[in-house]
């Protein structure tokens, strides 16, 4: 049984009308040069969620849906959609007349192929997001019907072009997905066509004249430019050689200076979808961090505001729970968790340690450990240096270790040869997508990156996580997650540090780059220059 979602259609009409109207105010033309850092390994957003890929690929690919600034779903390749009452059937009505950049028509077969053969197989998060999708029926060229084993409300948040790009079946079917040529030369349905990738220099995308949104995109061209050195990126932004830099492309310290300039704008919008949180992972299987007490003490000791002020120059918010406060909108976030003090509480920390029998020796040292630092930039080194000093005050003596990416990944996620690791995770728009992977026993997957490397295992928590994932009722779900957060605040397998605020720095002449809820990961079809 299908129920038409008139709402969707209506929204679509309004949207197109609005786009048509505003075309008078906005000017077409111009080349946008945006910072892409680092140079991406490929543009295969269907098999990698790597940040720089996310900056370029969504300009080429479309998703079934898009999300507005409030993260509400709006039509994209799907003109409308319906969810059955039992939540197990989702029907998408696809836009007609859409063409791939190579001129071939876009059909429901592409959707079926993308979800079942690509995203469920090789996308890093796809197997999770589409876990419940058993099959996709394609009664005609413009209808795709998803059949689910269980209801999956969180899935409806995963249809954006960054998370789930729809890829051309005719170019991928029957090929080895891992070495298909579209990895480096993407062919999509999006507002910009891939033209050229000059390794070490830039990726060039030109306007798609046949884009299905009438009158869009405004820009003639987008060039993604690679500049390895942060100070040089800042200089290039200042000089107007580049117009847009997101995801920390411009270091916060420079932003503090640049935001005073009229020619430059700064925003923290556009990151709601990824919801990043910095944290410390502990190896809970061996001393000294096998004791919850020492983990709690660390959480009590660290001055989160200091980190935010001195390393991220004021951008960020102290973490107060295992869940980011941005989940407050969906009612999942719980306030007032223990061991997340507003100000560092050294006395409490020492008491916790004393009570647990972790006493200082003659030199005042209670425990020694090595702190591994995520090798993604200088900020994390500074954070480590701060923690070394701060934790020294309660008798935890740290050595810092900063290795390159492969060594670090191998150490933490394959060899488990670490005791304490600074990291950051995207919590994503739903905890099932971004948070569960830290804590579930089923997420202790040796050799898989960014999952439960603490090897924390709690059957009670596992049960709560499982039912929380499936619960459609917002109120009940909120209660479950409150309990989850309480358990995690007491056991502290991971200490959350702060809710990160990524910065987007842009030339003031650049408008409309924030049209999508994805911010920099959006399609930029409505971006234009106000000369």
């Amino acid at each position: 049984m299908r129920i038409r979602n008139w709402m969707g259609i209506a929204l679509g009409i309004v949207f197109v009308a609005l786009a048509g109207l505003s075309a008078h105010a906005q000017k077409a033309g111009g080349t946008l040069v945006m910072l892409v850092q680092p140079e991406p390994p490929s543009l295969a957003s269907y098999q990698s969620t790597s940040g720089p890929i996310g900056l370029m690929a969504p300009k080429v690919y479309d998703g079934l849906l898009d999300y507005d600034k409030d993260l509400k779903a709006v039509p994209s390749l799907a003109e409308s959609w319906t969810v059955s009452d039992d939540g197990k059937t989702v029907t998408f009505n696809l836009r007609k007349g859409v063409k791939w950049h190579d001129g071939k028509p876009f059909t429901s077969a592409d959707v079926q192929f993308t979800i079942m053969n690509v995203l469920k197989k090789i996308h890093p998060r796809g197997p999770n997001s589409f876990k419940e999708v058993m099959e996709i029926e394609t009664p005609d060229e413009s209808t795709a019907i998803f059949k689910l084993a269980n209801p999956a409300p969180y899935m409806m948040r995963s249809f954006g072009s960054y998370e789930s790009p729809i890829v051309p079946k005719h170019l991928l079917d029957g090929q080895d997905l891992k070495s298909a040529s579209i990895a480096n030369k993407p062919v999509g349905t999006g507002p910009f066509k891939f033209v050229e990738w000059k390794k070490g220099q830039y990726i060039r995308l030109d306007k798609n004249e046949d884009y299905w949104k009438e009158g869009l995109p405004y820009l003639d061209r987008i060039v993604g430019r690679f500049i390895p050195d942060a100070s040089t990126r800042t200089a290039a932004m200042e000089k107007g050689e580049v117009h847009y830099g997101a995801y920390g492309a411009i270091p916060n310290v420079d932003v503090v200076r640049l935001r005073e300039l009229d020619s430059i704008g700064v925003t923290t919008d556009g990151y709601a979808m990824i919801n990043p949180v910095s944290l410390i992972e502990f190896n809970t299987t061996k001393p000294p961090f096998d004791s919850p007490a020492i983990r709690q003490a660390i959480s009590l000791t660290l001055d989160r505001q200091f980190l935010i002020d001195n390393i991220w120059f004021g951008y960020g918010k102290p973490a107060t729970s295992a869940l980011s406060s941005s989940y407050a909108a969906t009612g999942l976030y719980a306030e007032g968790m223990p061991n997340y003090p507003g100000k560092p509480d050294l006395e409490a920390a020492k008491k916790v340690l004393d009570d647990a029998g972790i006493k200082p020796d003659a030199n005042g040292v209670r425990a020694k450990a090595t702190l591994d630092l995520i090798p993604y930039g200088e900020d994390w080194r500074r954070a480590g240096e701060y923690m070394k000093q701060a934790l020294g005050d309660i008798g935890i003596q740290l050595d810092l270790r900063y290795e390159d990416v492969p060594t670090w990944l191998k150490r933490v996620y394959a060899n488990y040869d670490f005791s304490m690791n600074v990291n950051y995770f995207y919590q994503l728009p739903d905890p099932v997508l971004g948070v569960h992977r830290h804590y579930g026993t089923d997420q202790i997957r040796q050799g898989t990156h960014f999952v439960n490397s603490s090897r924390y295992s709690n059957p009670k928590l596992d049960a709560l996580l499982e039912s929380g994932a499936k619960e459609p009722d917002a109120g009940k779900r909120g209660a479950m997650y409150k309990e989850i957060q309480e358990i995690l605040a007491n056991d502290m397998p991971v200490v959350n540090l702060h809710e990160m605020k990524f910065l987007t720095v842009f030339n003031s002449k650049l408008k409309g780059h924030d049209a999508s809820g994805f911010g920099a990961y959006g399609s930029f079809d409505q971006t234009w220059f106000d000369e």
Partner: protein
Amino acid sequence: MRNFWQLYKRNRSAVAGLIILVVVVVVAAIAPILFPQDPFSLAGLAMSPPGENGFLLGSDSLGRDVAAGIAHGAKTSLLIGLLATIVAVGFGTIMGGLAGYFGGKIDDLLMRTTEMFQTIPSFVFAILLVAILKPSINSIVIAIAVVSWPAVARLVRGEFLSLKNREFVQACHTLGMSDIRIMLGEILPNCLSPIIVIGSLMVATAILIESGLAFLGLGDPNIMSWGFQVGAGRTLLRSAWWVVTFPGIAILITVLAINLVGEGLNDALNPRLRERQ
């Protein structure tokens, strides 16, 4: 010795270099007295300009004292320079000495090896070594030594080649002296001067390489050094110039001083120059 000092003294800039170098060494030695606190300690208000909030040379983004860092870092930087040089000079002398003394196949083999090292882009190779050995003082010293020794080997080989045919060495052969004793006791002391000169310049280069590695994020995170300060402060260049500029000046002055001393040593030790004067 007195003779040496007389000759050295004639080069005024070399004397200036020596004075600067002595000052740097003294600062390194008394750093724990000047700045008893851990140079990593968060001593006060972050990013204070020089002279404010009790920071002579300002503070960095975490409120660490730049001056304390420079004083404590002097020891590390000099140590890295010295150790890397000792290793490079030691190894290069052995390789160059063997190659020059024995000649023939050994020479060919050893010289091809040094050629190999000179064919690899050396800084990239140093980065590779540090990355593989994981960033620490030890691996930095090893990496610098590995890319520096071929120059020493070539120099020593040349010296050995010319000295081994000198008549005093032949005289030792006719006395039945063993090769080892001839190499160590007869030839080596006579090529110490150029080795000392190249060694002194190598200390300077090593300090520069260390700062370059640190710039690329390959420093030891636990030990205060000028390279560390420069690497940590480089993004602050435009917002808090003092954080990176003062350590940079420390590097500049020290490298400069070592070079002046090296040139002075060269003038004083190089007999060819001496005869000309």
